[in-house]
């Protein structure tokens, strides 16, 4: 596959955590505007993929390459990757007591704009954007004044992640099991937030264990990750298939050729 017009290109990526190999030859190309779902059984390396791509300490790349917009992603620091347009929505968002959401978001947006050589937003401009983003994910504006995730419910934390995504306007969003712990209503709010950000430029990797999120965020491609590599790829219908049959049938697939269809 050519790199031309490819936003993210992962080639034969091997990575380990605490000397245990987790990713064992991951290949994936994502074009601008595409939504790729990554599904798979527990322990397949789904969350690891998100952490490796974002450069988290403790996630060692053993071999392979990753480019974002043609640039070597693996050479960059965590914050440089963020400024280059990579966003990770966390499965378990952490609290930062005493630091208001607004302050946190302003510092983040300022840092990213500065890294990209853009002019800083005035506080008034930013506040307007932030209020708008709150509205989009159904969070009261008062959440801007509260400490980051401090005392938020599970659903509020996930909506807060999407709000951050809306404000940071990344090129590539990785949603790490954003649906976990959400009821249908909350999931719909999150999905609406995500869908509102879909356009011909922005790409998504939706990591999920269950098919139900994909009813709301329609993927262009679905990949099955098992034992550290993609064992099957298809369109949205693959997700349905998995829902009906589970993941166990995949392990009995005899050859890689059959997986190519």
């Amino acid at each position: 596959m050519s790199n031309e017009n490819t936003l993210l290109s992962i080639k034969d990526l091997h990575a380990s955590v605490e000397e245990k190999n987790i990713l064992k030859g991951l290949n994936l190309d994502i074009k601008p505007g595409e939504v790729h779902a990554i599904m798979g059984p527990n322990g397949a390396g789904k969350s690891t993929t998100g952490y490796v791509l974002s450069g988290r300490d403790g996630y060692e790349v053993d071999s392979g390459s990753v480019t974002l917009d043609g640039k070597d992603l693996l050479e960059m620091e965590v914050e440089e990757r963020a400024c280059a347009g990579l966003f990770l929505a966390f499965q378990y968002p952490v609290e930062i007591p005493g630091v208001s959401n607004l302050e946190f978001l302003k510092v983040a947006v300022d840092a990213q704009r500065q890294a990209r050589g853009e002019e800083a937003l005035t506080s008034a401009e930013f506040l307007k954007m932030a209020k708008e983003a709150c509205k989009q994910v159904n969070l009261p504006v008062s959440f801007l004044k509260r400490g980051v995730n401090e005392g938020f419910s599970g659903g509020e934390k996930k909506r807060n992640e999407i709000m951050q995504m809306i404000l940071l306007k990344p090129k590539l969003c990785i949603l790490d099991e954003t649906d976990s712990g959400l009821d249908i209503d909350a999931m719909q709010v999150v999905a609406n937030g995500v869908n509102s950000q879909r356009d011909s430029e922005r790409s998504f990797i939706v990591v999920t264990h269950y098919q139900r999120l994909l009813d709301y965020i329609k993927p262009d491609f679905v990949h099955v990750l098992a034992d550290g590599k993609i064992v099957k790829s298809g369109d949205a219908s693959l997700a349905k298939e998995l829902e009906e049959q589970g993941y166990s049938w995949l392990q009995t697939e005899p050859t890689e050729d059959e997986l190519e269809d």
Binding site: E79, A82, I96, F104, A111
Partner: protein
Amino acid sequence: MTEQIDKALAREYEAGFVSAVESETFEPGLDEDVIRRISEVKGEPEWMLEWRLKAFRVWQEMEEPDWAHLSYPKIDLQSVSYYSAPKSMKDKPKSLDEVDPELLRTYEKLGIPLVEQQMLAGIAVDAVFDSVSVVTTFREKLEEAGVIFCPISEAVHKYPDLIKKYIGSVVPTKDNYFAALNCAVFTDGSFVYIPKGTRCPMELSTYFRINEQNTGQFERTLIIADEGSYVSYLEGCTAPQRDENQLHAAVVELVAMDNAEIKYSTVQNWYPGDEEGKGGIYNFVTKRGVCHTNAKISWTQVETGSAVTWKYPSCVLKGDNSVGEFYSVALTRGRQQADTGTKMIHIGKNTKSTIISKGISAGKSNNSYRGLVRMNPGAEGARNFTQCDSLLIGDQCGAHTFPYVESRNPSAIVEHEATTSKVSDDQLFLCRQRGVDPEKAVSMIVNGFCKEVFKELPMEFAVEAGKLLEISLEGSVG
């Protein structure tokens, strides 16, 4: 992360320069003769000398306390010089024009302009350099309001009745080893008197600077807020970077008469010593205030410097309905050690106290909160609320909490909350994943942790304190 933090601590101490000022310095050593000489250079009246000598005899009978969670070699008090003053101060300059420009430059470098045109509007400054007060600004303006703000050495001459009545009235000579030593050898400090019903028209502040080698600084501050008056007082302190430890043993006494209010803020940034714990100031300070009926004393401190800190600003809530507050941020890094907290002594009825303590430990430092809340039998309906939070950065530092509660009145209510948390990898990763560099991230997390205390500081100081934390943590990660 630990390795990154270690790297951090190789930061510069910005106030670590030495000023080339010619000084008259006593030979190291301590005996009655030294005390007589201190009293003599200050031209003190006989009663002051007697008071000092009495304190000295009391002190000789005392032993250095060892109950604090601190470990440092025994201080050799005979190797310390007890008096050092710039020679140029001998003739007592009458105005700023006569002050040695090198002294003015020293304070300017520290961000405290003493020259009239550049003075910080709304803040009167007393600048204490080693053992003497160099300049006190805005004195005329304060005198118009009846406010006395002058070096304590001058107050001994000008206001002997006030000094005689109040010195040692809050912290008695025999209170503790370091306080007794201070009584014997104190050299300068600030004296403040706010008359009845007066709201002090500006913030008062004192900047303490140790410059000379092998000297100790023993300052003494006395603030009296007469009935119904109000004053906000700030103090700041810095010292040059030296390999030897230097001793700072101060005493601060506050008297808040009926319905008066004193707000006392400190930003302490004495030289903390280097990475290996070499050098730095030993900071042994006794601060206490007494509140009469309906009076209020509020201590706010940001402690980032010193190799060793031993300090418990306290309130004696003597009058009914009086209020005591203590807000503290103590940051230790490298090999710094801090044992700090407060004492709230409830004597009067319906007295109230609030303690908010935030300890931040990084590097291989140790940070302890030590606090006493005492409800005396007569403290009907008294209340205390204590919140004590510790934040750890890295995994080689220590945070300790030693709360003591003595309640002898069944109607009194004491509440205590304590938490310990870490700047977690998760928090740091979240910030970085959103594009924020690690240093900014840590400083943001720490500032968030300290928010409740910072909001108690006067505006100018809150900004300064925030910046100080930023400098202190510079390079503490990544």
